[in-house]
């Protein structure tokens, strides 16, 4: 354990505080906004003193948005449900397909394996807008537009490469000889995959799954184009707050708080895996 002088510790504390404040301030501010009305939010100069109201949350939950020009129906809770459904299902499918694939890419070098793996990765760096137009056409022909099935499928563009590449790095970190030792002691490769490789790569798989979940949750453009109101996630649903009579800042803030809560909770819960998994998997992968 290295020893540090009190001055050094103090400076380090100050630096850390600055970083935390810098990154956390927007979230704190939005949290505060979510308990205010549009009037108190927009007053100049801004102030942290206000009488809190639960109106914004109530409006979101009941789906009735009060604006200057009347009451608007919004589907926020439905959007939230869609987000959960789409993200969870996409990650589940991506794990189911991606983990065995990652294992195959890590353990077996076959003709073109690197090319296939790289092609899958390239989905991540092609701008989505590039493929959206043709995709829309295909989806209409196939009858997939505005279906959960179609969205989960297209979300694989986000989740699958991520899981594949992070988990692959993790499998590569496991000594192949540990698996050989298990196999030579009388086990098939499949039980080796299940009993040795999967548990040892567990943290990496958890981290990759979590990251894929966050990316899927934050996706905007696919759902905007390929789904209509009843299938849209919160990211797209939030557009409804930009109304003819102005922007409902309070409700937007409340909606943001509600929609980042699940990912934030997940991330906090799995923080340990996330750091461990990303530093090991991503650096190597």
């Amino acid at each position: 354990m290295e020893t540090t002088s009190p001055v050094e510790r103090l400076l380090r504390g100050v630096a850390l505080t600055l970083v935390v404040v810098f990154f956390m301030f927007p979230i704190v501010w939005i949290f505060l906004m979510s308990f205010q009305t549009n009037e108190t939010i927009l007053r100049i100069p801004p102030s942290v003193v206000f009488s809190p109201t639960l109106e914004n949350y109530a409006a979101l939950i009941t789906g009735k948005l009060q604006t200057a020009s009347g009451t608007l129906d919004i589907a926020f809770m439905r959007n939230l449900g869609n987000s959960v459904l789409l993200s969870v299902a996409s990650v589940a499918v991506a794990l189911l397909l991606g983990v065995p694939a990652a294992y195959a890419f890590a353990r077996h070098k076959f003709k073109g394996s690197e090319d296939i793996a790289f092609t899958l990765l390239s989905f991540r760096f092609a701008p989505p807008l590039l493929v959206l137009l043709p995709l829309t056409q295909y989806f209409q022909w196939l009858g997939l537009s505005n279906t959960y099935f179609g969205l989960i499928w297209i979300y694989q563009l986000i989740c699958l490469p991520l899981i594949l590449w992070i988990v692959r790095g993790y499998f590569e970190d496991i000594s192949a000889d540990v698996e050989y030792a298990y196999r030579i002691a009388g086990h098939s490769w499949f039980s080796t995959f299940r009993k040795i490789a999967l548990p040892l790569a567990g943290p990496g798989i958890a981290a990759a799954g979590l990251l894929a979940f966050i990316f899927a949750w934050n996706n905007f453009v696919f759902a905007l184009v390929l789904a209509s109101a009843d299938k849209q996630p919160v990211t797209v649903g939030a557009l409804a707050f930009v109304t003819a009579s102005g922007i409902q800042y309070g409700q937007i803030a409340a909606a943001i708080v509600l929609s980042i809560t699940p990912t934030l909770a997940l991330a906090l819960y799995a923080q340990r895996y996330l750091v461990e998994g990303l530093s090991l998997g991503a650096v190597k992968g």
Partner: protein
């Protein structure tokens, strides 16, 4: 007892496409009898580990057949070959304790709990790891992990035990003790073991026969004594033995009644023809150039010998290593007593014909050992 435990026939190993990839093992043929301990000895990249992994089934065989206990296994999965293996990288299962790791392979054999415990205890005693049986692999040293891994392999009843550098991480004292115990354990149970090592002391101490490999080719497969006394070629001659064999290029000339070797710097070694058998003389006279080899232990000092100049004189506590500039190269001598030779001092060197190994200068194959034909 004389059944063949392992038979390797015409085996080739390519990494990459067959005939175009890296040719790691070339036309390997080898038979191992039941109860034998065999060492695959060679430097890194010589094909010894590839050979072991092909036997275990972790690397596909590009060509040829491998039979274990009379069954062809080259296409079988590792689980169906009935071989046990200790890995160079230990490869213990991290979530299991040392005890569970060792007992692990016995679980499949469905032995009673008592028998398993007894066996684990006895192997742990043998390997001196009784005190760490309850620990996890991540909390013990490399040497302890290696012993645990060795225990996991030796405890099994398999047709073949494959040991990949099984003692590389152990301290020298422990290594010497364990070598003896492990050999006894293997012999007592009539197990057949194939050991991969780059340590010739280990190979000599453990193995009944040593397979020397280089460049994917089996150079010689014989008892430790034969490999030392009758190396089949220049590679085996210089690779096995410590310090290594002295070698010098020489031209052969013979007159009636004399055999002479001309070395660099005008050095000439002359022997009466009677020092070599007829066959050796004939073989030598057919050639113009040969390579002479002599082991450092066999080089003698003598006032009427050829002259060299002392370059190094090291007392190692129990023997002296003298290196002399000689014939454009270095001649190493080993003596048992301390000597007070000064650096630069000329010494007379005598090479007895009975200790000379002569190799063909082109093929490197041995022509003669002492007075006999190779």
């Amino acid at each position: 007892m004389n059944a063949t435990a392992l038979s390797i026939e015409n085996v080739d190993k390519f990494y990459g496409p067959v005939d175009h990839g890296v040719h790691a093992v070339k036309q390997l043929n080898m038979d191992v009898m039941k109860g034998e301990i065999i060492a695959l000895l060679g430097s890194s990249g010589c094909g010894k580990t590839s050979t072991l992994r092909m036997i275990a089934g972790f690397e596909p065989v590009s060509r040829g057949t491998i039979s274990v206990a009379g069954r062809q296994v080259q296409t079988l999965a590792p689980v169906r070959r009935n071989v046990a293996m200790a890995f160079e990288g230990y490869s213990l299962y991290p979530p299991l304790t040392v005890r569970e790791n060792i007992a692990f392979a016995l679980k499949a054999a469905k032995l009673s709990q008592n028998v398993v415990e007894e066996k684990v205890a006895s192997i742990a005693k043998l390997l001196e790891i009784e005190d760490i049986l309850g620990r996890y692999p991540s909390s013990i040293s490399g040497g302890q992990q290696q012993r645990a891994s060795l225990g996991r392999a030796l405890i099994r009843e398999a047709d073949l035990h494959l040991l990949d550098e099984p003692m590389g991480q152990l301290e020298p004292q422990l290594r010497a003790v364990l070598r003896g115990r492990i050999k006894h354990y293997i012999k007592e149970r009539g197990l057949t073991a194939i050991l991969v090592t780059h340590d010739q002391t280990e190979a000599n101490a453990l193995a009944d026969r040593i397979a020397v490999m280089e460049g994917g080719v089996l150079q010689q497969f014989d008892t430790p004594q034969m490999i030392k006394e009758r190396p089949a070629n220049l590679f085996t001659g210089t690779f096995v033995g410590e310090p290594p064999m002295n070698v010098f290029e020489a031209s052969v000339s013979g007159t009636e009644g004399r055999v002479a070797f001309g070395l660099e710097d005008g050095i000439r070694l002359e022997y009466p023809a009677a020092d070599f058998s007829h066959a050796v003389r004939d073989a030598l006279m057919k050639r113009k150039n040969v390579v002479l080899g002599i082991r450092p232990y066999s080089v003698r000092r003598s006032a009427d010998g050829v002259t060299g100049r002392v370059a190094v004189n090291q007392w190692l506590g129990d023997q002296t290593h003298i290196a002399a500039d000689f014939a454009g190269g270095t001649m190493v001598l080993v003596e048992h007593d301390r000597t007070n030779l000064e650096i630069g001092q000329p010494i007379g060197i005598r090479l007895d014909p009975g200790s000379l190994h002569v190799f063909d200068s082109e093929s490197g194959m041995a022509i003669s050992h002492g007075e006999e034909l190779a």
